[in-house]
Symmetry: C2
Subunit: 421 residues, 2 copies
């Protein structure tokens, strides 16, 4: 997962030359839906795009081959274009997993695929399109092990005991859980070993097999090195896994917030209090700035991995300033992969007890938010009204709670609404 | 899962007499948190309470034994009291899973546990405290199979290939996935078979074993009948599983909404339009009623499995009516296990373009919502303002989208906020 990623990066010397094949031809019948799970949207974007991105951001992976069933080739190409993926080739899959992977490998080796023929990599990574949370660390470990041993794959402890049943549907025996492991992805192979294994294997293997490590063992006489992987290698299989993936993505996106205040004393003070109130829940980067300037600090803030911004001001409306922020966010390109949240916080310290919010203003806010949503920026409005109603600290704490709720929920239906702290 | 459950119920003749033992002594180290997973809260309630409730609602389960580690006995008792669980006995666990289950079984058989000694059941169900979504259907099937075969357990297809590693950490062999199954829960046994198996088994079994079906086979010469279970038997193991559980619970709670309108013509009309706009997304039950009456229709609506209500009116404020609804909801007892959502929808068709919302009113709404939240009722306010701003149908569609967002998100931080359709 990209935001808030803690991956260490491989130094240039250690970087292997590898390509990746992502089989994405599954029908997703276990999910119980019509859409294959790799194309189900998670926080608005197809799952396969997250996995492609996980590969794409690794500089030492030269080519990414996504193998999809014939009817999904156009869908996949559209996804690549929409989300700006690079170094990706879409290949037509076969009727089984092994046949699809074999097709993916042929792109590096066979003339009949000369339309795309790509340079043969030393090592090829095979990874499921439905395991989006793979990190560079484990990929590197598996690839380096494959260079040394010819083949390598990630494993995990078994969650349940594995049992064999007899013909009458009764327990025959149970396996001792500690002796076995679940074979997960990624796996990696010296290209020649896995390609030759696929060339030699039988139709039965291609039609009924599922395990690439098994083919390397059977046809390549190569005992794969097994690497203990982390829990985030899990495969999105059931509907509940889509729920989990969405929550993880939202969680990752809500690790960091940028707080922008104008330079007026009152506003800066509220910015400081809000910073204080938020910092135990989220990493806060704060800046006080006059928004007319073209400020490089702000551009820096927008070029990182922060997907949440708060703009605090005492103007109402603050359309001009919000527009400026929206334009800068749009140019920064961070809106390409994830919706960016922008909370416009309006301070009002009016002593007037009959202070009220006009319907016109609310309607205008909503209209503006709907426009800006097309740019993948989600704008919410928040009013901090103090002095009259309640002490400032209390209002700020209440604002912080509402801000965290908006950032964590990331709910597109609530854009343009005005919340009151 | 209780709300929107489609379980068929066993007829009286078919009902077995059974008890259930729920081992809940695990430390949850795989979750990566300090709280064992069975005590982690999901939508505000500890996971174990959901599993207890799944057992408790089945009338043919006489006793539910929850086995927890010594340090969690008081926590567990507090949970039982807080959520009004019945027929539950808390038992001190041992240091391993098997020792804990054995302790649970002793309650039905041994004098030293005479403080609680319960009537020995014919069949005992063993089910994990961290599998909250078990349905009556599968429990009944497993129990009936145990009556016939002496032992039975739910199984699921393997998600990953299972492999054995050699001493050097390399692949030794992979198992043919189709021949094996994952052993899941629930399992059930004739009480005497499993109890005698536990009495006979070795310390090694008690310390390192995990599979009750294996003990029944080894010491009871009983080959368990294997029952294909559904995907919802899965075990909450990792943090992502808590996310998934929360989403499933929220999803189940947002299947049904009750729409209450007062009897004024305008309001009834909006109620009808809203019904129409919502019904493709959620099951709607609607009622038009004068809220002064003590209406049995309303009590019926509040005694079902509906956890979402919309009250449409043209009064502002409508505190008196909302109070009445809150009181009725509180008395209905449906707030015991799940927070109930009440959306107060205020119609305003003022021609006055400068219509505005006063800060006093907003502050009062928030204060009221905070009070009512203590009763586990979450109140949100929604304004449908039409004529001036936009045509009624458009406003109603926008209101429906906001209502669905509130119902699905179930966000406690947004209570008392006024959204505008």
């Amino acid at each position: 997962m990209e935001p808030a990623s803690g991956s260490r990066h491989a130094g240039p010397a250690a970087r292997p030359a590898a390509a990746a094949v992502l089989p994405a031809g599954g029908s997703g019948e276990r999910l119980g839906g019509a859409t294959p799970k790799q194309f189900c949207t998670v926080h608005g974007r197809p799952l396969v795009s997250y996995t492609v991105r996980a590969m794409e951001r690794i500089s030492w992976i030269s080519d990414i081959i996504v193998v999809v069933s014939p009817e999904n080739i156009e869908t996949m190409k559209t996804i690549i274009q929409k989300y700006g993926h690079k170094r990706v080739t879409v290949v037509k899959g076969g009727i089984t997993r092994h046949r699809s992977i074999f097709n993916g490998l042929k792109v590096f080796a066979e003339d009949e695929f000369s339309k795309y023929l790509l340079q043969k990599p030393e090592v090829v990574v095979i990874h499921d399109a439905v395991r989006p949370f793979v990190e560079e660390d484990i990929l590197l470990e598996v690839v380096m092990a494959a260079k040394e041993h010819g083949a390598a794959g990630a494993i995990r402890p078994l969650v349940s005991t594995v049992i064999a049943s007899s013909a009458d549907g009764c327990l025959d025996h149970s396996l001792e859980r500690a002796r076995y492991r679940a074979s997960e992805m990624p796996q990696a192979f010296l290209f020649d070993i896995i390609y030759q294994a696929y060339q030699q294997c039988t139709d039965y293997d291609l039609d009924y097999g599922t395990e690439c490590l098994h083919l390397a063992l059977k046809y390549g006489k190569t005992k794969a090195k097994l690497i203990e992987g982390t829990a985030d290698l899990w495969k999105v299989t059931y509907k509940r896994d889509l729920y989990a993936a969405e929550s993880i993505i939202k969680d990752n996106l809500s690790q960091q917030v940028g707080v922008i205040t104008d330079v007026k004393e009152d506003v800066v003070q509220v910015g400081l209090l809000l910073h204080e109130s938020l910092k135990s829940q989220i990493q806060v980067e704060a800046i006080s700035i006059s928004l007319c300037q073209n400020e490089s600090h702000l551009q820096n803030m927008f070029s990182g991995r922060c997907y949440n911004f708060i703009y605090i001001h005492d103007k109402q409306p603050a359309f001009q300033e919000t527009h400026l922020l929206v334009d800068m966010l749009e140019k920064s390109n961070i809106t390409l992969l994830y919706p960016v949240i922008l909370i416009s916080v309006h301070l009002n310290s009016s002593e007037n007890i009959s202070f009220s919010i006009g319907m016109e203003e609310l309607t205008r806010n909503k209209k503006f938010a709907r426009e800006v949503k097309k740019k993948n920026i989600w704008v919410y409005d928040l009013l901090i009204h103090y002095k009259d109603c309640l002490p400032l600290q209390e209002a700020v704490n209440s604002a912080a709670a509402l801000i965290m709720a908006l950032i964590k929920d990331r709910n597109p239906e609530l854009i343009g609404q005005l919340l009151v702290a």
